[in-house]
């Protein structure tokens, strides 16, 4: 559809990140929606400003300077809607990730079932679980009351009981929640999200609605073994917004500019990944990874079914110490192609966490940051993979087949060498089969996600305008062989009729010379029962591919990647991989 057939409207999507606030400008160019430019400025949600509007204002000033279009007026603030002489903007939307994670207490009947559901739900937003309560924790009612008063959570998530299932046991826990909330100052009472046995909803309302800010969602586990997270996910996002409105100065003003079109960055990120999965390659999933200063977001979607997980405190800026503390120095150093002492690496990571905006000054420091990013993604991937559909692709501890995989975050977009974002995503995620790695080079995903709610045409047209940088088509065969064994024959047929063939050996990483944007047809013939995602082990097939920044990458290193306990051997091998990539930088 052409935008001349609809009422075309210019849009500014603001993302209030933990370090940077960005304002993205979209408008109609030659009959289609296009991303035009962005402005950015330091986020001012925290000290000393404690007012998000300051950072937004500065980012809009930069956008105004870049586009030459007046967006701000001293008298009225942001000019909404646009004027006939092209000043201002028609629609403004906003997303936010800045701020401390909300503190959550999860409550369920059994640790292994309902608490697991509650954890999944809490992890779909910027949240830290500060305590868990279940029937099998052997706490008395008094213990529970004291725990809740001591923790003073922002949110209590209550799950438990299938519909028509257990009720009495859950009611005894609800009594403790009600009493503890009542004992707190009204201003400190937690939000409560009930997503348990639907038969108890009336009793929950009667008992808790007058004491706390109660929300009720459909049962997260209506029948045993079946998780229905999405209704509760919508509600937890509403809770997040309520909490942020209370905490973040100026946010109410922003919400009035956006007429309520405001959500968490993670929720918007998940939404656009879901949107993409509905639109493209229904046979595979779509994966999005955003690695930020403080948090990492991972969103996967299969035919519109989304799995979202937010990892607060796991990032490459203020969250870099979190990567080290959740993993180990050894797990970070294993990705490095150079030898640096433990002290150098550890000190750099801790300094980065206290000075998150500081830049690496030499190549060694760049390698530390890339290794941090790889391990952050690996950590996140290992936690999200078990919850993804197993029937698609490798399953188990390996990523299912995905097409495409989109990475975002300044560590990727500002990487000095062109191969570095691909290397981070490839090593961190370790995809298998045939996929495309793309880079959200302008950080549009959250903006496109929130816009898709009201203007899906904009999202579609901007995505189709080659806004994502194709880093490379990846072919990663799965199987086991001795290093050096031929496991795959590839015939590359170019559009001009020329072709060439390559034999791929197990353990290798190689690049097929295909120009950026060049369309080729690949004939893949796996040997030794290797699987390239063509329907099973040993199955051949044809696939159309487009060359990325690094052409077509054949990753025959095996899955999962193996590391030697000998640090020197690892360094040599990492250096060899880096050399393979750096030929194409």
């Amino acid at each position: 559809m052409d935008t001349t057939t609809v009422a075309a409207k210019s849009v500014i999507a603001v993302d209030i990140g933990s370090t940077i606030t960005r304002s993205l400008f979209f408008d109609v160019v030659s009959g289609k929606y296009r991303f035009v430019a962005f402005g950015s400025a330091p986020t001012t949600a925290g000290a000393p400003n404690f007012d998000v509007t300051e950072g937004i204002w500065r980012s809009l000033e930069e956008l105004q300077y870049i586009t030459g279009r007046a967006l701000l007026s001293e008298k009225d603030g942001v000019i909404i809607p646009s004027t006939p002489d092209n000043q201002g903007v028609d629609i403004m939307v906003a997303t936010m990730s800045a701020g401390e994670p909300i503190s959550v207490v999860t409550v369920g009947l059994l640790n292994t079932v309902s608490l697991q559901n509650a954890r999944h739900l809490a992890h779909t937003t910027y949240a830290n679980i500060v305590a868990e309560i279940s029937l099998n924790d052997h706490r008395t009612s008094s213990d529970r009351i004291n725990l809740l008063i001591r923790k003073r959570p922002d949110l209590i998530i209550i799950t438990g009981g299938t519909n028509n299932g257990a009720s009495n046991s859950l009611l005894s826990i609800l009594e403790s929640i009600g009493l503890s909330s009542y004992m707190l100052d009204e201003s400190q009472r937690p939000h409560i999200l009930y997503t348990g046995n639907e038969q108890l909803q009336d009793e929950v309302k009667a008992g808790l609605s007058k004491i706390s800010k109660l929300r009720i969602a459909a049962n997260i586990q209506p029948v045993l073994g079946e998780e229905n997270i999405h209704p509760a996910q919508t509600e937890i996002n509403e809770v997040y917004k309520d909490i942020r409105k209370k905490q973040a100065g100026g946010l109410r003003e922003v919400i009035s500019w956006t007429e309520g079109t405001f959500t968490s960055t993670a929720s918007a990120f998940g939404r656009v990944i879901r949107f993409l999965s509905e639109k493209y390659e229904p046979g595979k999933g779509v994966l999005g990874v955003d690695i930020g200063s403080d948090a990492t977001i991972m969103a996967a979607a299969f035919n519109g079914e989304e799995t979202l997980r937010v990892f607060p405190g796991l990032g490459v800026g203020s969250g870099s110490a979190g990567v080290l503390e959740k993993n180990s120095l050894e797990l970070i150093k294993r990705w490095m192609p150079i030898e640096l002492s433990d002290k150098e690496v550890r000190d750099y990571i801790y300094n980065k966490s206290i000075y998150p905006s500081s830049l690496p000054l030499d190549s060694d420091q760049v390698e530390i940051e890339l290794a941090l990013a790889k391990q952050a993604i690996r950590y996140a991937a290992e936690l999200i993979i078990p919850g993804l559909p197993k029937q698609l692709g490798a399953g188990g501890t390996l990523l299912p087949y995905m097409e495409p995989i989109i990475g975002s975050g300044r560590i990727l977009t500002l990487a000095p060498k062109r191969y570095q974002p691909l290397s981070v995503l490839l090593d961190g995620l370790q995809p298998s089969g045939v996929t495309t790695l793309a880079l959200d080079q302008n950080g549009l995903l959250p903006g496109l996600g929130i816009v898709s709610e009201t203007n899906p045409l904009l999202t579609v047209q901007v995505i189709e305008s080659s806004t994502f940088l194709n880093l490379g088509t990846i072919i990663a065969p799965l199987g086991v062989a001795r290093p050096g064994t031929t496991i795959l024959r590839i015939q590359v047929n170019r559009e001009n009729g020329r072709s060439f063939t390559r034999e791929i050996k197990y353990g290798s990483l190689s690049i097929l010379p295909v120009e950026l944007g060049e369309k080729v047809s690949l004939h893949l013939r796996p040997l030794n029962r290797f699987d390239v995602g063509m329907g099973g082990p040993g199955k051949s097939g044809k696939v159309n591919a487009v060359g990325g920044v690094l052409g077509i990458v054949i990753d025959a290193r095996g899955r999962p990647l193996q590391f030697s306990p000998d640090l020197e051997k690892n360094i040599k091998r990492n250096e060899q991989w880096r050399k393979t990539f750096s030929k194409y930088e």
Binding site: P42, A45, G46, A47, P48, A98, G99, E100, T140, S141, S142, I145, N146, I149, R150, R152, S176, L179, S180, Y182, M183, D185, Q188, S318, D342, K343, R346, D347, I349, Y350, N351, I354, Y355, S357, S358, L359, P360, L361, D362, S363, Q365, V366, L414, P416, K417
Partner: protein, 352 residues
């Protein structure tokens, strides 16, 4: 580009909020002079509750238990006071397990708050109370020297500051920790050995201010009973010259050391405050300023950190670093007259 101001000031105005997260009883009044140990506000920080099942205790149904209640919400009780009963042949009663207050009663249960010692929030610094925050605490203002750090082990103290040498260039070693430092807040260039932190605890010192520290010491430093503040970062470099000068000039004066954990979002930095009598009225320091020629800056990352210099020029447009990163740079003259170029992102403004 706007940069954070690193607060290292020989003479400035300082304003701090000292509040509890729960409602309590404020013990100070406006314009009152306070010293660090003075209590600002008291409150039961973590109240303890017991949910008493009266119906079960009396072996009756909840409705009957409510009829047998002898106490109402709000009543203060001492240990052993009867809450409900008597009932039955053996005149069963439910008694208060400890001294406390009945908070709620009904449906056969009583929620009972146990009397617990109140938490006392101290001023933590010398100064004057300039504002009361009802039920929560107060705002204290003073004039003096301020040294802001980047890492703290979460502890707080007040005492005499004693530099371990006249130049904080050197590593702090066990041999320096003599009995003369007992009860003092000592300052030194850097620390990299765990034995030093342990030996300092044995002396015992009252607090430790370091220019830098090896990050491998973080877990141990968190366990130490005395406050530890790191001013510049995690490395093995001397203390920045501005902080060094303040600490040496104020040798044997009292310093309020609040080695709270860094929380940049809330604006909580570890810090040391040395109150000074002053006839001037310095302004409160700004929190952020634009980097431009003439500004005094401190380098926060790289081999030249934590040297102090002056911006000669902001180079126009983005430049490419040796590692390929494109960024804005400033030309800086360091205190030793050497010139260098540093990314703007790796600078913080320093005000005298």
């Amino acid at each position: 580009m706007i940069s954070k101001v690193k607060h290292i000031h020989a003479n400035t105005s300082i304003k701090r909020e000292r509040v509890l997260p729960v409602a309590g009883h404020v013990l100070v009044r406006r314009m009152q002079k306070v010293s660090p140990a003075d209590v600002i506000v008291v409150a039961p920080l973590v109240p303890q509750f017991i949910l008493l099942d009266i119906a079960q205790g009396l072996n009756v149904n909840p409705a009957r238990a409510d009829e047998l209640l002898q106490r109402a919400a709000g009543e203060d009780l001492v240990q052993g006071d009867v809450i409900a009963g008597p009932v039955g042949m053996f005149q069963r009663v439910v008694r208060a397990p400890q001294a406390g207050v009945v908070k709620m009663a009904g449906e056969g249960k009583v929620l009972f708050e146990i009397s617990s010692p109140e938490y006392e929030l101290q001023a933590g610094m010398e100064g004057t109370i300039t504002n009361i925050i009802p039920e929560r605490g107060a705002i204290i203002e003073t004039k003096g020297s301020l040294i802001q750090g980047v890492w703290g082990n979460g502890k707080i103290t007040y005492g005499v500051v004693q530099p371990t040498s006249n130049e904080m260039l050197q590593e702090l070693v066990v041999e320096q920790l003599n009995i003369g430092f007992r009860g003092a807040i000592i300052s030194a260039g850097f620390c990299r050995q765990p034995e030093v932190l342990e030996a300092a605890g044995i002396v015992p010192i009252k607090g430790l201010i370091l220019g830098s520290m090896s990050s491998s010491l973080i877990p141990l430093a968190r366990k130490m009973d005395y406050p530890i503040m790191v001013i510049d970062g995690f490395r093995e470099t001397p203390m920045n010259k501005a902080a060094e000068a303040i600490l040496i000039q104020n040798k044997d004066k009292n310093i309020a050391l609040n080695a709270q954990e860094l929380d940049t979002f809330k604006g909580n930095f570890p810090e040391g405050i040395i109150s000074q009598s002053s006839t001037t009225e310095p302004d409160l320091p700004s929190e952020a300023e634009t980097l431009k020629a003439g500004k005094k800056v401190i380098i926060i990352n790289g081999p030249e950190s934590p040297q102090i210099g002056k911006i000669d020029k902001i180079i126009s447009g983005k430049q490419v670093l040796s590692n390929g990163i494109e960024t804005r740079l400033a030309e800086i003259t360091l205190a030793n007259e050497k010139s260098t170029t540093i990314p703007l992102t790796n600078l913080e403004i320093l005000k005298d």
